[in-house]
């Protein structure tokens, strides 16, 4: 690749510093899945509509299919694989399993990332809060009912844990 079509970008993924030389417009999603072999983040639509590619980007949920890698410079990224290492996020993941919040599972990583981010900002979300916070994560299998239940149960468990 010529000089002009390549950039070296420094960022952190799941706590580990990365140095990536790539075409600047290469999608963050592809860098994560192909170069870093973090295949937990999924592609569902490539147009920022389904949320299956959601990751945490300096603490905010973004659709990684719409982020050019050049703009990840100095950014702290957390993917679903990183959430697993977080004891509190694990409560959310367990709730998803217990409540039937995952059926085919393809939307699940993005859904868990978005739900986790919601709980970080709003520890006791109402149903309306859930509806609007997760409207960017499409699920074709569940009708969302069990996903909401999982988040509410996790939120309860996190509140209990915090109270102790």
């Amino acid at each position: 690749m010529s000089d002009r079509a390549s950039a070296t970008v420094l960022f952190t993924v799941n706590g580990r510093p990365q140095s990536m030389t790539s075409h600047p417009l290469r999608r963050l999603l592809d860098v994560l899945r192909e170069d870093l072999r973090l295949t937990g983040t999924k592609e569902g639509c490539g147009e920022g509509e389904c949320g299956a590619c959601a990751v945490l980007f300096d603490g905010e949920v973004v659709n990684s299919c719409l982020v050019p890698i050049l703009q990840a410079q100095d950014v702290t990224i957390i993917t679903i694989e990183g959430l697993v290492q977080n004891e509190k996020a694990k409560l959310l993941q367990e709730a998803f399993v217990q409540c039937g919040g995952a059926q085919c599972g393809i939307c699940t990583p993005g859904m868990v990332v978005a739900s986790w981010n919601l709980l970080e900002r709003n520890p006791l979300p109402t149903d309306d809060d859930l509806r609007s916070a997760l409207s960017g994560n499409l699920c074709r299998c569940t009708g969302y009912t069990r996903i909401f239940e999982a988040i509410k149960i996790a939120s309860g468990k996190l509140e209990q844990a915090a109270a102790k």
Partner: protein, 742 residues
Amino acid sequence: MTQRLMGSSLPRTEGHSKVTGQARYVDDISFPEMLYGVTVRSPIARGRISKIEFDPAIPWNEFTIVNASDIPGRNRIVLIADDQPCLAQGLVNHAEEPVLLLAHRDKQLVEEARRAVTLDIAPLPAVFDIDDAIAEKQIIWGTDNIFKTFLVEKGDVDSAWAGAYAIVEGEYHTGAQEQLYIEPQGMIAQYDPETGITVLGSMQCPYYVHKALMPLLNLPPEKVRVIQTETGGAFGGKEEYPSVIACHAALLAKKACKPVKIIYDRGEDMAATTKRHPSRTRHRTAVDRDGKLLAMDIEFTVDGGAYTTLSTVVLSRGTIHAGGPYACPNVRIRSKAVATNHPPHGAFRGFGAPQSIFALECHMDRVARQINMPPDEFRRRNFVHEGETLAVSQVVREPVNLEQLMNRALELSEYRLKRERFARENETSIIKRGIGFASFMHGAGFTGSGERSMGSIVAVEGTKEGMVRVLASSTEMGQGTNTIFPQIAAEALGIGVDAVEIVTPDTSVVPNSGPTVASRTCMIVGKLVESACLQLREALIQSGLLQPDYSPEDFKRACSEYVERRGMLKCQSQYSTPPGIYWDDDKYQGDAYATYAWAVYVAEVSIDSRTWETRVEDFVAVQEVGRVINPILAMGQIEGGVAQGIGFALYEDVAWREGRMVNNQMTNYIMPTSADLPPIRVYFEEIPYEYGPGGAKGIGELPIDGPAPAIVNAIENAIGVPVGRIPATPEVLMQAMEGARV
């Protein structure tokens, strides 16, 4: 048999791997030296290929290029009629029809190359309309553009009109619906001259793919191996279509002698793959003074697209369900599947039934209105009972109490109270409210003799470690196969679920248990799992290694010892038809399905009279399903199916232009988000079905049959004008209300 596991909400077996991002879908898998494959497609709906041009700017010598002449065997996707080419040769019959395949190591370059191929196609006149197809404006398929017809006759319809108190007619339309699984379609193929072809990918039916690959590649069964990867949603969209991609990937892999991965991008997936068959149904119904049905004359037509695919079977199911759960003495159903130059339509949850049930249930409300009878009273007077016959003359040989289901649903939804209240409030309110319901049934398993012809097999095997492996070709696609099979097996064997392993559906390892479709996986295949396990248990007891009152540890030891001593412990169970099932394929009469699940769904809607936007405010789903094996999974099926049904009713519209889908983006094809759906309230009743595992019937498709008619009935209740078509978008409602004013 004690029921310690059946009926309990065991957590999803692969749940942990899904919520941690560890589950591996086809695009998560790579092989060394793997190439990326893409499909070059026809831009127009019908024509003759005159020239294919390759832009010299691309280094074509680096590419693997496959056309129809590279096919060693038959250029056909083998399914039912074998009329669909794998790659178009000469003629193209639909937009997006595959013509050429390209593969290259560079994922980016292969897309650029796709753009650099120009297909010169001389257009031929195309047919896009059901009536144009029937009128034979152009013959685009066979001799008359008709894939299939059915005629169902019960009693004597024509004699009933004269004595009728009222005769009501109606015409109903449903549009195409995209399955929209969130994981796009994809396959990886590998070829070895010694061992043959191996294909892995997202699919519902490994043996369908296996069957399609053999004649295409001229390979015997043992040289074709198909393995299902974790599948991110399917809903029928991955029943027959995967054979097309598998064949494409295999051709490229064979020519390149390298592994080839094909993953469709979303726009391509939406435009090129199958959708639900659009339908048109015409009803003519006679009732007597007491509101009892005297005759139903039904004309049911579906648009099959350019090739047969599964249209004959979709038509079959739609036809059989067209008369609904009513005892009507005289019925005639004339149905047709016609060819048009759209990309072939195919399987989608419900498979013809949502279309004909939509028409019927909207029409039943219309008849009730015409004779000034409340819709629920009208149903009550006509519901079928045990001993009475359905439209295809099937004698209902199971207890069924639709009145009770309906009463429960109406009570839970406050139907009567709300109907009265809304009638008052709508006079002055800007937001019009309505409530409506649909009563329906869904036959589980394959129609008629289908299950017997298939002869599905399940095997179970004991291991040296004392585990039990279940070998079946049924796939997990989110519905819970890999959770309920261990539940059923463990229950039958008296062991824990963690002692049961479900083997990945791999055609070189598992027997053919039939496709994962038709709401048959729990009821039919699950029963085979149960019976194979009972055989295995019996084998152990007979051997003397296991006493009848054993513990799970005893079982483990006995199994292990048996395998040590005898080398193998394997039992197989094959489908046999329950007694008393008889179906006449010529007359299309008799026991169409071994059993039905029965349901009544109620929808409450609000319509903003300024914008005609409809919102579903509440939804109640009551169904009798034999036995609920796993409540959370079962509720998940109903909730998800209802959500898809709401999409079908209100939002999901395929915009066609010259036979091509132009809104093929998730931004423009509208499925419900979490903000669009109400809480979906699910209730089960259980009347155990003798031949299902633990008494279970099938439920996968049932929930998508009810929502659309319930919602449209609710809308018609709210706005007081007939709608009769879905999706009932705001534009459609505006048109309906404006039209009514004139």
